[in-house]
Symmetry: C2
Subunit: 182 residues, 2 copies
């Protein structure tokens, strides 16, 4: 039998499959890429909860449709996407590599130079789909700080595990972790 | 002096920077990631030009906000994104590696298993931001065919270089190439 977790965001209900990610842990798989409804609903709700800011910033790839919708809701013509590798179109890219506290894995995020320059001295809200350990969000925050911007808010559709206790994060729902008894 | 190319799509005008990509070629850099306006306008125009289909499919990452908007315009609750690497959330991923005719570089695209199964026997429109050599689109088409779907249309915001002569591609504007005289 397939194990699932029932999630409700706004008027949308999704049955999330549980997937095993390590010997002793399953997580509920929440993939917003491809889900027009949940992105549209969640964006319209969260847009009303954000502090005033000059730019929304996300990291590729799963948060992209969500940040696009939030920007539209706020009437913002532009948002900024940090990429995971340097692209041909980039000029003077600004790069940041952050080491994971828990896994020691390195994560690199990159801003196109003109985007980094646009951020200087500006107020930023960081946008993500799901915040769990918080390390991806921290990497994005350090990159945005390097560009000279101030992070005035952090928002995600869901907070997973201990991220559900954060009071510096705006989110619409909590996602439990599913430890495996052995 | 910065060289640029003036592009008009719907009611939106953008000054695209020319960037040098090889010894003898510059291209106009068109990056829709982060541009709420052009994505929204282009999607509403192109949605009216597409053949009837069961699914829209794109490859990450630049086409994601565009496919999201096109799906919304067509009232489609779901679309499908092929990823460039296997992700933790995937079950029974369907993988396709295609070798570039011109550069010999390999490109791998991956569908999550449930997405691949959903595509079986279905009509698909492929969505991209810019089609140039057509190789990325061909890789996506081969992957979608492997999943058992029929490609009934191909659409992009812009057709670059010789792609502007394609009659199997729906697009809103042509983007010239800029050869360098030496």
């Amino acid at each position: 039998m397939r194990e699932t977790y029932l999630l409700k965001i706004g008027n949308v209900i999704r049955e999330l499959p549980l997937i095993q990610v390590s010997d002793n842990l399953k997580i509920a798989s929440f993939v917003i890429l491809g889900d027009t409804e949940i992105v549209t609903d969640a964006a319209s709700i969260i847009a009303g909860k954000l502090p005033e800011a000059d730019f929304l910033v996300t990291a590729e790839a799963k948060g992209i449709p969500f940040v696009h919708e939030v920007a539209k809701n706020l009437g913002m013509p532009r948002y900024i996407v940090a990429r995971k590798s340097v692209k041909a179109y980039m000029e003077r890219p600004l790069e940041k590599t952050v080491r994971s506290i828990t896994t020691q894995a390195e994560q690199t995020l990159i801003l196109d130079g003109p985007d980094a320059e646009a951020l200087k001295g500006k107020r930023v809200v960081l946008i993500d789909d799901v915040v769990s350990t918080g390390e991806s969000l921290r990497a994005l925050e350090e990159l945005v700080n390097d560009a000279g911007a101030e992070v005035v808010g952090r928002a995600a559709i869901l907070a997973e595990g201990e991220a559900g206790d954060r009071n510096d994060l705006i989110f619409l729902g909590k996602l439990p972790l599913f430890p495996i008894d052995r």
